[in-house]
Structure formats: structure tokens, C-alpha cells
Amino acid sequence: MTSPTAAVIRTESRLFARERLSLFWIVLFPSLLLGVLGLIPSFREDSADFGGRSLIDLYVPVTVLLSMIMASIMTMPATLTGYRENGILRRLGTTPAKPFAILLGQVLVHAAAVAASSVIVIVLGRVAFGTPLPESVVGYAVAYVLALIVSLGIGAAITAVSPNAKAGQVVGMVVFFPCMFTAGVYFPVEVFGGTVRDIISLTPYGAASNALNDATAGSFPELVDLAVMGGWAVVLYVIAVRVFRWE
């Protein structure tokens, strides 16, 4: 005896397991990137420029965020806009299952994939390159969950504002690169100072990056960073809920 919602979620996880490309980008690619960067000797040297940390230390939270970006911006909106375009949401609306169940299912499977990816990245960094584990576990958990919520909010907003799958890809690409930059994938945001850094700190991934770094170093994330993420989350979900169409 299962509820329709549980059945939909179970089916969505089974289907997600067949999406090899999505799984590669979300689960494997971040740790692959960390592994490759860790092979560069200079990346493993502690530097006074980064507060006594090495570049690879900084890339652990970066690759955590990278997996969130892949899930929320690259794969989830593509799936959901496709579902809408193909009438799957509408069809589900004619059954006792709520079409909302399929959205929930997609959010859950993507969140689970991100969580798996994060565990792999943190363990790999620790074992292979001696990167530090989060010292403030509570702080890290708070920062991580908020980052994931705001990230999925970006995906939800992309899904909502895109009239079809093709538009979703375009919007996704436009959003993708600034997110990669502010998350520090190209170079950790720590290398920037002054105004650039302040501006980056006002973006969802910039704030997330600050918060994860603080928690890793042992302090509770600064409230301003948590507030920035919370603020973005509210704005993004309001947009998503207001604009979203089932068909």
C-alpha cells in the first residue's frame, strides 16, 4: 500500500538513475575536477594569500557548489520543462496523484544526488589531499541546506519563466556562467578583494561560498551571508510559484 505521491517519487528516482549524463555532471564531475586540480603540486601548497589554506582546500566547497549548479541549473529545469511540454504534468492532473508530486520527486532526487556528490568530494579531498573537514558541523549543515534551497530555487525559477524546454536551455545557459563564476569554479572567490568580492558576496553562490568556507574553518557562518541566501530563496520561490504554469 503506497500513496500516489510516494509511487511518483519512487518512479522518478528510478528514472533518474537512468539519466547517466545528469548523474555524471552532478555526482562524478565535481570530484573528477577536484581530483585533477589536486594533482597540481602548487594547488596543494598552503599560501598566506588564502589565510594559510591551499587552493585545493578552497576548491572543496567550490566543487560542492558546482554539483548544486549542475543539478539545479543544468538538469532539473530541462527535465521539468520537458515534462510540462510533453503534457506529463497535465496528464498527472487527471489522476488521483497530484502533479505537484512529480515536482517534489524531481527536487528530492536532485537533492539526493547533490548530497552524494558532496560526500564524495569532501571524503576525496580529505583522503587524497588532506583538506580539512568542516570544523563547525552545525554551521556547515546550516550553510549547506540554505545553499541547496537557494540553488534549487534558481532551478525552479528557470523552470517557471521558461515557456518551453528550448527556452529553458537558453535561460539556463545565461544563468549558468555567472553562477559558476560566483561559486568560484573558475577561481575561488577568495582571490578577489574589495568591491568585486563584496558584489560576489551578494549573489546566492558568493554568499554560499563564504558561508561554507567559514564553517569549514570552524566559525558559524556570518549572518549576512545566510541572510543573502535566505533573501534570494524567498525571491526565487515567489517568482517560481507566481509564474509557474502546469501546461
Partner: protein, 309 residues
Amino acid sequence: MHQEREPAVVVDGLRKTYGEKVAVDEISLNVCEGEIFGILGPNGAGKSTTVEAIAGLRVGDRGHIRVHGIDPWTDRAALTEVLGVQLQEAKLQQKITVQEALELWSAFYPDPEPWAPLAERLGLGAHLGQRFEDLSGGQQQRLSIALALIGRPRVVVLDELTTGLDPRARREVWDLVRDVRDRGVTVILVTHSMEEAQTLCDRIAIVDAGRIRALDTPAGLIAAGTAATTTTFDTSAAIDLVSLREIDGVTSAHSANGTITVEGAEGVALAVIEALRTQGVSPQRLRVAAGSLDSAYLDLTDTTQEITR
């Protein structure tokens, strides 16, 4: 068979506009329990909007609908227990297998129909492990029909049922629809196939430009049309078409590649033969056929005046 029937679906004064465009303009109809009710009309006539309103997917601007007493616009949850829907061109997840889809849909209902015999009945038994994206159009369509039936609905809406099916698959699906009806399920069939409507439906509503143009049994519609019979013959002689058109009851007479077609009311055939005899023409390959739904349909949906023929 034909005892007192309850209306399964009542549509009363339904009106739906999209911006300036009136999609459905005051449609009222009753669908009796246990009948196959056809909604026939050209593209954009308002057929799909009407059934989407019945399925609770659209809320009308005016009017009301009841499906076994349930208001689909306010009580979708109760509606889904009695109404199964196969939507036009609705797909499933690309990588879901036939069996997974059937199992998923089974989990939606308290007392689902066992899916294995249903799949067998629809010719899907050999494709249970196949993914939706790898099915042919016809197989996708049959899966969609199976899913509409799995919850043992009392009313089932089938929108563009056999579009994309080959002739054999079409006939199999038609048999299935009759089966479903014989089990007491009411069927609302949306189609633009005249043949499908004529062979399958107990009653047909012909819809055009958002209004019902006619509502009757297939035989009733044909008889009421201006072309109850069609008379065709070949001749090499010159024919005075004008004189044929002047015959009482003839609605049209035209010639193509040496074949003359005369359409008109019952009894026109005799008058045509009589006229040919006086003209000294002997018709070859003379055929007289009962009019089809085609001509009735064309009469009823032809809203633009045809000037030339």
C-alpha cells in the same frame, strides 16, 4: 440494453474564451450512462476545450458541468475516481517502461484493474520492458488508453483515440472501446475521423466554431443531411449537369474524370435515372449508396459560403 439511462455527464451552457477568441460558445449536452458519445468537428472547433472542461483541466467562464454529480471544477479529487482521461498527444517520461507506467498508475487508485491482462488486451504484453521513447506511436497510444482505464473509471474520455494508428491497430482499439462500453463504462470520444464516429458512436455531437451544430445518432445525422443518398455513374457522353441539379431534392451534381456524382435526398436516384433516359444517356457502373456521415458533416460544418465548385 436500452433501459432507462441516467445522464453520466451533464454539460450545461459551457462557455470558454481565451482572450478575444471564443473557444466554446454555450455548449450543452447530456451523455447517457453506458453510451459511446462522439464529439466530432474540425480542428479548433472547441472539442478539446470541452472535454478538458469535463476533465477539470479548464474552468469555463460560464455554465456548469456534472460528472456523476461531481463538479469537475471544484472537486477534482472526487472526479479522478470516476473519470479516466486519455489526452491528445500527452506523453510519458521518456525512459519509463511500459510496466513501470502501468504499475505507477495502478498505485494511484484504490482498486485498480489488474494491469497485466489489460496490457495483453491492448497488445502491449510483449513490450512491458520497453521504454516509452522506444515505443511506436501506436504503442504509445495504446499505453495511454490502458492508463486511462486502469482505475476502473465510470466515464472515460478518449481524445483523438486512433490518430497515428495503422488500420489494423485502429480496429483493435475500436473493439476495445466497444468492450469497455459493454462493461458499463460511458465513453466520450473526441475525433475528427468520420469513419470512427460513424462505426463506434451511439450518438454524435457535431461541433464547429464552439457550438453544437447537430446532435443525433449517426443514422439520424445522415438522414437529416441534405445528401441522404449518393448516386454515381460513368459516362462518356456529355451530360447536362444543370438539368440534374434542377431535379427536386438534388443538392449537388458534379463531374470528375468522366464520373458523375449526384447527391441528394432519398429517392433522388430514380429521378436521376429518369432524367438520363430522357437525355438519351446510358449510365455505366451505376451505383447508389446511402449517404455517409461525411456529407452530413460537411453540410453542418460548412460555415463559409462556397462560391465555385
